[in-house]
């Protein structure tokens, strides 16, 4: 099956200042993403995520390498490709004095929609993102969450086959971020949309993406599913159990989800694949030994930790 995204040897550099030296932003990036999946590009700020996604979205031309999206070359077939993909980014920006509906109509027309087809599509999107009550509100008067919903609605105006999402939940409150994640999952599930998203939120990547890749200083340093990466690196959430009278007599290594452990004095430090999933079962096993746990500490594995492991 033809990959939805194929990139080989992508390189990009920018000149700093008018006569300044060139700064290499992407180097030899290879990537293949299957159709119908949600793929995450992870990495800290400045890793080259936006540059990479912009090249695939035809907004930037690579200096080196070749990229094909939906079988089309991102440089040579840019016009044809633009009809079949779309983009939503963090910090939604649209013309301030146009209403939600007018902004959607403007972008719909840019994709060649008009008349009844445009009205129907705009109506559908207003319903889908619960923007109907705000359709006559100008963009500048919308809350951050509504702006982001409009950005997602705009990204679906041409019924794309592939969607680029550049940090889609950055700057949103947790509730709205969760709502947007739900929408992304639904779009992938119901419409079979291929989604490439960049994020520096590990939990977001974990909950949304079937597979992720890490970018560091413009290089793709690792890729795989989250469990694969965690297992490969022996990483997981850190769970510390503090006992009243010495650790419970258990073979901690055989407990479900435990990757590594260390017992010391009255404390046992466990590394588990998903603490929130395993905690109850572990405490149940411990309680059967009659040992008394006086304190539980939990530290979830974060991007920085995995990133550190991958890059050092």
């Amino acid at each position: 099956m033809q990959p939805a995204i194929f990139a080989a040897g992508i390189g990009k550099s920018f000149r700093t200042g008018f006569f300044g030296p060139r700064k290499q932003v992407l180097q030899e990036v290879d990537l293949e993403v299957g159709p119908g999946s949600i793929f995450g590009i992870l990495g800290p700020n400045g890793a080259g995520k936006t540059t990479f996604i912009s090249i695939l979205a035809t907004l930037l031309r690579p200096d080196a390498g070749q990229a094909r999206v939906l079988g089309l070359d991102v440089v040579k077939d840019a016009d044809r490709l633009r009809e079949r993909v779309n983009l939503a980014a963090s910090g939604a920006h649209f013309l301030w004095c146009l209403t939600v509906e007018e902004n959607l109509k403007f972008y719909g027309r840019l994709y060649g929609l008009g008349g009844k087809a445009l009205a129907t599509k705009v109506g559908e999107l207003l319903d889908l993102f619960e923007l109907q009550p705000h359709r006559r509100v100008t963009f500048e008067r919308l809350s951050t969450g509504l702006k982001q919903r409009l950005a997602l609605a705009k990204a679906l105006i041409n019924t794309p086959e592939l969607l680029f999402l550049d940090e889609p939940t950055t700057g949103l409150d947790p509730e709205m971020a969760q709502h947007i994640r739900g929408e992304i999952q639904r779009l992938n599930r119901d419409a079979g949309l291929t989604i490439l998203l960049t994020t520096h939120n590990m939990r977001e990547a974990e909950s949304l993406c079937g597979e992720v890749a890490f970018l560091k200083e413009g290089r793709l340093v690792a890729r795989g599913t989250m469990p694969e990466l965690q297992e490969r690196l022996g990483l997981g959430d850190r769970l510390s159990l503090f006992f009243k009278d010495g650790p419970a007599p258990l073979d901690y290594g055989r407990l479900p989800g435990v990757l590594t452990y260390k017992a010391e004095n009255n404390r046992v430090d466990l590394m588990v694949d998903r603490a929130e999933k395993r905690l109850a079962a572990i405490l149940e096993e411990v309680s059967q030994t009659q040992s008394k746990v006086i304190q539980v500490q939990l530290k979830e594995v974060d991007l920085a930790e995995i990133y550190h492991e991958i890059t050092h």
Binding site: R15, A89, L98, K105, G112, G114, N158
Partner: protein, 264 residues
């Protein structure tokens, strides 16, 4: 171009320009207040100087042309500046559009606004200062209007190229270009009084010829034997060059990452 998708893409930019103008108080000022002030101040100055009717007409033609071109080019110049101000440039170019859609869409609104300004100023000139605007006839008026709109399109396209290259910093160019061009083409004075060197520059500005053509109906001599030939041929060449320049700057913007930088 494929219809009707191309038509809707053009309509997108035309509708956006029209909506922004409708909601912008300053746009009303651009179309009514400044042109009105220009006609009053210039007209009253000619009265104070006790100029003969032909000279008054000469100067009023200059004032009408200046404001008509200024307004007509603004919508084109602002077509991308709106996106730069809104930081939405990347979303516009993410869509399968061509430069022609922007130029024709925004340019049409500019043309309509320019025409309205021309009518308002023409009416004020006739009513307040007895200018005989109808003397060149319908054909003369249409040719003059076409010439002015071609010049406005040239300025607008140049500004578009500058916006794609320099972003918001090019904003000032939207006004500066037209003032510079109008200064050189003999707006309020015959080109013959320009200093040597500058006079040659005036010869390569198409508006010089369109002004000369229109004024000859009021008894002012033609400086060139075929003003319309020079005016139209220069306009076509410059428009072609400007279009190529905008295309080049867009290609360069895709290479340099300007579209992304202007959307942050």
């Amino acid at each position: 171009m494929r219809l009707p998708t191309d038509f809707y893409k053009i309509l997108a930019f035309a509708t956006r320009s029209a909506l922004v103008n409708r909601r912008n108080v300053f746009a009303i000022f651009e179309m009514l207040f400044w042109p009105g002030v220009a006609i009053f101040s210039v007209g009253l100055l000619t009265r104070f100087l006790k100029l003969d009717p032909e000279t008054v007409t000469f100067i009023l033609i200059g004032a009408v042309s200046m404001n008509t071109i200024q307004i007509a080019q603004l919508d084109l110049s602002y077509a991308l500046l709106y996106s730069v101000w809104a930081k939405s440039l990347k979303h516009e170019f993410m869509a399968p559009i061509k430069l022609a859609h922007i130029l024709v869409g925004a340019g049409t609104v500019g043309l309509i606004r320019g025409f309205v300004v021309f009518v308002i100023m023409g009416f004020l000139s006739m009513w307040l200062f007895d200018m005989d605007l109808a003397r060149p006839g319908v054909q003369g008026l249409l040719i003059f209007l076409t010439g002015m709109f071609l010049n406005a399109a040239i300025i607008g396209a140049l500004v578009l190229a500058l916006v794609l290259r320099f972003g918001q910093r090019a904003e000032v160019a939207a006004w500066a270009f037209s003032y510079l061009m109008l200064l050189l083409c003999g707006l309020y004075y015959p080109v013959s009084i320009l200093p040597l060197g500058i006079r040659e520059l005036a010869q390569i500005i198409p508006l010089t010829y369109f002004l000369e053509y229109f004024r000859h109906f009021y008894g002012f001599p033609l400086m060139s034997s075929h003003p319309l030939l020079y005016g139209f041929s220069q306009s076509v060449v410059y428009l072609g060059l400007c279009y190529a320049l905008v295309q080049y700057t867009l290609k360069s913007a895709l290479q340099r990452g300007t579209l992304l930088r202007l959307s942050e």
